[in-house]
């Protein structure tokens, strides 16, 4: 039991960050049906922008985060306008997106090298912790992660349900044709979806960079987890994506309670495979989608 509690803590921490990342992927994917594999590139560009501004140039972390957000939005919009919109077939978009992610990863490698980089926590956050129990220390930073990520998730949910744009996005997700018939301009709305998705990626990028450091290929694992979460969560469901992220963070950490930690990814994807075979529309989709 004593090993379970710290795993629960890390599970919830990772789960909250994954929830935000998965939400970002879902918002880019469901309204547009573009399989935005380059979302990982948006993520990794944000981490490098934050690192470059905050750690390499020495500016405050807050400025770095703003820079990261800006870069992420630009990259996301370039993907949308230059690469995805001219194409019509979803498989071609998928492959183009994948090639893009390879391109970006290697450009980053040329610019910044393949060595891992790290970002220091600001002074007021570093080194402070409290204990849930004798074996479960929780850093203040981890707590901040959980609170911020869950708070942002709540904000996005409110946006999706209470605002016109959010409702429009949900409409686009469930039926793009009818949405256009009703008069909602899908192109601009989708562009905004990409902007929001990129911003959510930036949030995830901040925490991943601070927790794990950066390398040019560090975008793939979070991307895979986000995709995993979105599909578990259910067709067209953004809330499902967030829940999927939270669930994955917990499953992955609890899984290593009894299994060697190297099996984390395999567990996550084994679960996805089984769910997709048994219930392809995911957990939160309405029956019939």
């Amino acid at each position: 039991m004593s090993t379970l509690l710290p795993l629960l803590v890390t599970g919830v921490t990772l789960g909250s960050v994954l929830a935000v990342l998965s939400l970002g992927f879902a918002i880019s994917y469901w309204p547009s049906r573009h399989f935005h594999f380059a979302y990982g590139s948006v993520f990794i560009c944000a981490t490098y922008a934050i690192w470059y501004v905050a750690a390499d140039r020495g500016w405050p972390l807050a400025i770095g985060i703003v820079a990261g957000g800006g870069v992420a939005v630009v990259v996301g919009l370039i993907c949308y306008f230059v690469f995805y919109r001219p194409l019509r077939d979803e498989q071609t978009i998928f492959l183009t997106s994948f090639a893009l992610s390879i391109l970006v990863q290697n450009v980053l490698q040329i610019l910044f090298g393949a060595n891992p980089q790290a970002i220091q926590l600001p002074h007021f956050l570093a080194g402070r912790a409290f204990s849930l129990s004798s074996t479960a220390p929780v850093t203040v930073f981890a707590l901040a992660e959980i609170v911020i990520c869950l708070g942002i998730w709540a904000l996005v949910e409110v946006f999706l349900r209470r605002s016109r744009a959010g409702t429009g996005l949900r409409a686009l997700s469930s039926d793009p044709f009818l949405t256009e018939c009703v008069g909602i301009e899908s192109r601009r709305l989708t562009a905004w979806a990409y902007v929001i998705g990129s911003l959510l990626a930036t949030v995830g990028a901040v925490f991943f960079a601070l927790d794990y450091g950066l390398t040019p290929d560090a975008g793939t694992t979070p991307l895979f987890y986000a995709i995993n979460a979105v599909l578990i969560g259910g067709t067209f469901s953004m809330t499902g994506a967030g829940l999927g992220g939270l669930l994955l963070g917990l499953v992955v950490n609890l899984g290593i309670w009894h299994l060697p930690s190297a099996w984390q990814t395999s567990i996550a994807f084994g679960v996805l495979f089984i769910i997709l075979v048994v219930r392809p529309q995911g957990l939160l989709a309405r029956a019939g989608t």
């Binding site: 194409l87 090639a99 290697n106 040329i110 599909l231 060697p260 996805l272 997709l276 075979v277 392809p280």
Partner: protein, 321 residues
């Protein structure tokens, strides 16, 4: 220089076989599958493990790989019957990530992250391959046989049936085609062929590394097929050859190794993006597609008021109609 080219030859041959195996599945059924590298890994590990740990002759390890890969291929058919399009690609993606995890972590079975070391040279009966030139000749011969078989397959009645299943499953079923059985054949054949490419890989490199068989290798195979042309025999060969040689051609320009490698990947990715944008059907589109396009163009010259035949949506793109 010559040695360098000869050392590339067998690698190209292996990728041609892999590309053909994927083309069989994608060209015949229209599904996008990211699992092909897993089947190649099965072949590589079967051959590698049986030859090093149990001293089996190479020729005996091949059917083992075919059997395991074939069974996995059949397993992956099941979701394909229920799930359409891109979602199936993601299912295969999940399977592939899981497979990579097994290759990397199942220490008892696959030697885990260490991989399989010290795989002997290719030796079947009186044929012992030792030099680059030997491997090049032998593997290119094998690849040629595979390509010929594929060509006969696409031109055969079975090929016609498979394309019918791909283009309109309902219509094919309505004329009595057992679409499930035909797709099963294709999935098993594609998986077994990929396993063969893996089994040839092991005695060439003498080492099986779990990090080789990832989704990215599957993507490489997919880009070879899409680049060359889905369903097109010559296209598969062209795609495999170009995309294997291209990164290596870059390294002839003398750059520091990390930059050179990264630049090669950038150019390769850029080439793929361009081809997907400009010729989504691939550089050499499938014969039946070219025929349909000619028919549609001829029909467009009819009197106004006649219905214009629509092109089948098919697999990839419509932006160059």
């Amino acid at each position: 220089m010559v040695q360098y080219l000869l050392s590339l030859g067998p690698v190209v041959a292996i990728y041609v076989i892999l590309a053909v195996s994927l083309n069989i599945v994608m060209g015949s059924t229209g599904v996008l599958t990211v699992a092909q590298a897993g089947f190649m890994g099965v072949g590589a590990y079967s051959t590698g493990l049986l030859m090093t740990d149990h001293h089996w002759p190479l020729i005996a390890t091949l059917p083992v790989g075919w059997a395991i890969a074939g069974a996995l291929g059949a397993l992956l058919l099941l979701p394909a019957l229920r799930i359409q399009g891109l979602l199936y690609a993601v299912v295969s993606f999940a399977f592939m990530v899981f497979a990579t995890g097994v290759f990397t972590n199942a220490n008892g079975l696959t030697h885990g992250a260490l991989g399989v070391v010290g795989i002997p040279f290719f030796s079947v009966g009186p044929i012992h391959l030792t030099s680059n030139r030997d491997y090049c000749i032998a593997y290119c011969a094998i690849a040629l046989v595979v390509v010929l078989i594929y060509y006969r397959l696409t031109a055969s009645p079975l090929g016609v049936v498979l394309r019918a299943v791909r283009d309109d499953t309902g219509a094919a079923a309505s004329v009595g085609v057992d679409t499930v059985r035909e797709r099963l054949k294709v999935f098993v054949l594609g998986a077994s062929l990929a396993s063969l490419s893996g089994s040839l890989y092991a005695p060439l490199i003498h080492y099986v590394d779990p990090t080789t068989f990832t989704v990215f290798l599957s993507f490489l195979a997919i880009t070879m097929v899409v680049f060359g042309g889905i369903g097109s025999v010559f296209g598969a060969v062209l795609g495999a050859t170009l995309l294997t040689l291209l990164p290596d051609a870059i390294t002839f320009i003398h750059l520091p190794s990390t930059t050179g490698g990264a630049l090669a990947q950038i150019i390769y990715a850029g080439a793929v993006i361009l081809v997907l944008r400009l010729r989504p059907r691939g550089i050499v589109p499938e014969r039946s597609w070219r025929l349909r396009k000619r028919l549609a163009a001829a029909a467009a010259g009819r009197r106004a008021g006649d219905p214009v035949p629509q092109l089948q949506p098919g697999l990839v793109g419509g932006s160059d109609d």
